[in-house]
Structure formats: C-alpha cells, structure tokens
C-alpha cells in the first residue's frame, strides 16, 4: 500500500535573489524586484526589502505571502519592544528575534529565505544569514534565493581568503568601500539575471550607514 502523495501544497516559490554585504561603517542590502510563479511573471515591481528598525533592514526571497506574514510579525514584536524599553531594537537583537520567530514555526515553516543587514550598536556593518527555520550566522556577506547558487561563488572568489583553514575567520566585515560594494552588487545581479530565469527586471539597493538609510534602483534584463 503506497503512501498517498499530497495533491495540494500550501507553498509556492515566487523566485528572486537577495544579497547583503557588510563594511566597516555601512551595510548594503539588495534584492531584485521580480515576483514570479512557475513560468509567469506576476509583477516586475515588488519590493522584497523591509525596514524592521532604524538601522536594521531585511531582504527575503521565497514565498512572498509567508514573507509578508513574517514581516508583520516582526514589526508587531518590535513595537512592543519599543514600548517596553523606550528604544529601537539593535541589529543583533533583531537577528535573534528573527531566528526565534522562524523556529517557532519549525513544523510548518515560513518558506522565507532571509538576509538581515544593518549597523550594530558601534556603527559597524553586520549581515546575518538565515535558513527557513531560523538557523543563523553573522557573516561579512551573504546571498539567498534562486540566484544564490550563481552569486555566492563569485562573492567568495572576490571577498574570501582562499582557505579558512590557513587564515583565521575574518572579523565578519568585508574590506570594501561603500562605492565598491555597490558596484559589486550591481555586477553580481547583472550576471545572475543573465543565467537565472527568476532574477531580473530591477534591483532595489538599500544602503544603511551613519547618516541613515538610502535607496537606489538599477534596471536589469526584462526577459
């Protein structure tokens, strides 16, 4: 008697890629703006990036309905924190909250692949990378989503030492200047959109630094 397979899935994958790079005094978070399902495009102008706190921004790819629900949940918890502590949540605190929120739904997960970026309490850039159930790590740079398999090897080649065995684990911050990081992000998305059908249309780039948060856009291939 073979096990009956489900004929309906509660999940869908809306595609897309996100990247974040941390620097000494800034953090760049970028995501493409295409939302798709199967072989169709639902919209070319969907923002996958959400500002969670003053100096904390999250980019998520995967199932956007779950991403929306997750963002709402985090915003509500952040509001409560602000009422109780009379201050904004720091990026490392938000990172832990996101991990806990994701693990809370360990047995019916948020189909959301997240990358959290921002400035920590000392003003240094930080990036946290997550899986769907809340396992996270502080890193210097990260990529998630359908284009991550194309993007990560290139970022490793440009930013990582040849072997972590020889050189000690870096300070989890890249040596790049803000302008270099933005150029790298644009290059990496241009390449990903050439070879990944789910990545394209436009990139939304969010830069968090001491002066605040600024947003810029770049056009990508629309095919």
């Amino acid at each position: 008697m073979t096990k009956q397979q489900a004929n309906w899935s509660p999940y869908d994958n809306n595609g897309g890629s996100c990247v974040a790079i941390a620097g000494a005094d800034y953090c760049v978070i970028a995501a493409d703006t295409r939302m798709s399902t199967g072989y169709n495009i639902l919209t070319r102008e969907y923002s996958k990036i959400c500002k969670l706190a003053d100096k904390c921004v999250m980019a998520s790819s995967g199932f956007q309905a779950d991403v929306k629900a997750l963002q709402k949940q985090l915003a509500a918890r952040h509001l409560i924190y602000q009422h109780q502590h009379n201050k904004q949540m720091s990026c490392p605190a938000m990172a832990q909250l996101l991990s806990n929120t994701l693990y809370y739904k360990r047995f019916f997960p948020y189909y959301s692949f997240n990358v959290l970026g921002g400035l920590d309490n000392e003003g240094k850039g930080c990036v946290f990378t997550y899986d769907a159930v809340g396992s996270y790590e502080k890193v210097g740079y990260s990529s998630q989503g359908s284009g991550s398999t194309l993007i990560t090897p290139f970022l490793d080649n440009q930013l990582k030492s040849p072997s972590p065995l020889l050189l000690s684990v870096q300070d989890a911050v890249t040596p790049l200047v803000e302008a270099e990081a933005i150029d790298l992000v644009k290059t990496v998305f241009a390449s990903a959109s050439e070879r990944d059908i789910y990545t394209g249309d436009k990139i939304e780039i969010v830069v968090v630094n001491a002066t605040g948060i600024r947003r810029e856009y770049m056009e990508l291939r629309k095919d």
Binding site: S36, G38, Y39, N40, I41, S146, L150, N157, Q158, P162, S163, L165, L166, E180, D183, L184, K186, T187, F189, A190, S193, E194, R195, D196, I197, Y198, M218, E219, L220, R221, K222, D223
Partner: protein, 273 residues
Amino acid sequence: MSKAVVELPPKGGFNFDLCRRNEMLLKKGASPPSFRKTGTTIVGLIYQEGVILGADTRATAGSIVCDKNCEKIHYMAPNIYCCGAGTAADTEAVTDMVSSQLQLHRYHTSRESRVATALTLLKSHLFNYQGYVQAALVLGGVDVTGPHLHMIYPHGSTDALPFATMGSGSLAAMAVFESKYCEGLNKEEGINLVCEAICAGIFNDLGSGSNVDICVITKGHKEYLRNYRVPNTRAHFSSKEFTFPKKTEVLLTKIVPLREKIEVTEDGDAMEE
C-alpha cells in the same frame, strides 16, 4: 528444472529496463537529472509571398539558462525550415534526421522537396515513438504547390494553419497573433508581427528570452535573419577589471610514499621459458 531465459539482443529504440530503478530512486527522494529543454517561443505565419518563421534564443536546464543564444530554426531543405520546441536533443535529432532523408529523396526524384513530405516523415517518426521524443515543431516552407505552415505535436498529430505558435511562450505569442493577424500581409508587416509575437514571449514567459531569430521563405528564395532583434543586453558592466588566479593556489604540499622503494638487481635468475 528452471527454464533458461534466452537473452535477446536489444532491438533498438528505447530501453525501458531502468524505469523500475528510477521509480525506486524517486521514492527515496533522489531528483532525476534535468535535460536541456528549449522552454521556448516559436511562431510561424503565412504572408503574401510565402512563410515567415520566428523563434527566441534561450535554452534552459531547469531554471538555469544554459545557452543564451541558441539556434531554434533548423534547416530541412533549401525551401523548408523547421522551428523546434521541447527537449533540445530531440528537436535537433529529429530535424537532422528528416533533413538527411529529404536530401536523399531529392537525389532520388530530382525534384525540389515538398513540405508535405517533411511533414509526413516527421509525424510518422514522432507517432512511432508514442510521444517519448518530446519535439514540438513549427514546419514552414514554399514548394511547387505553394506556401505551407504546419504545427507538429510530440505525439505525432499535425495542424495546418495560416499562423502558428508553440512552446511555453506560445500563449503570449498567440495573443499577439490573434489580435493583429490578417491575410495578405506584406513582408515588412509580416516580419514586424512575428518579431512582436516573439518579443511577447521573450518578456512575458520566463522560459523564453534573449534574441529574436527570423527566417523568411518565398518561392525560390530564403532569408535567414539570425539575431534580427537583440532587445536584451547585459545590464551592467563593471569598470573594475576582475582578475582570477590562473592556477589553483597551493596551500600545503605533503608527499607520502605509498610503498618502500624496492631495488631490483640486474643479475637475478632469468625467468624460465
């Protein structure tokens, strides 16, 4: 006494012996290898003087683009071309095979090939393989009997139409054709319409992309316009010159001899003959 089963040599065609093993692997969670498909938009239309065929140029393996500029309009005969959608290997193999058969037929009959001949050869081959050869084709050409355009489905059925679209982008392209097609288009209008239909597929279907290829066939003449339109160029060129190490970087060298080195002296006993 058990009966010995005589092992017959394989008769050719498809061998389904591994199907049971594949099913077992699927149940265990192993994912099957993906083949290169041309998730595609291909179109054809009949205009005043003949036939115009169009195709996009993207080939995908799953969700990755494996060829950004492949050729989907295949040569069948000097006056017949065929666009192919579906599994790339299947479309290439079947069009090459029928193209050779047509050439031999031309030598045999000393006549220009007819579209109906190509049609019959293709459909009987595909029907023979019961849909396992996944090739969906748009066949077009001009012969002594006039211009012809046919759609050929993987199971072997065919349609004869004034305009046709196939592939994952066929709905986007057909939407354009149904709105704007009329009989008796001239060459410029025909090419523009085909280009618009392919572009609709390129921009709205994720399985199609890159450039537009066009082939115009008229009585006694053909024009193969490779990359007629290139509407998608690279989004960003970095000013930084990326350098990559030419060799693999050596981190550590350690030589471990596998066996003691044995010295063989020259005047040992010769082996007995």
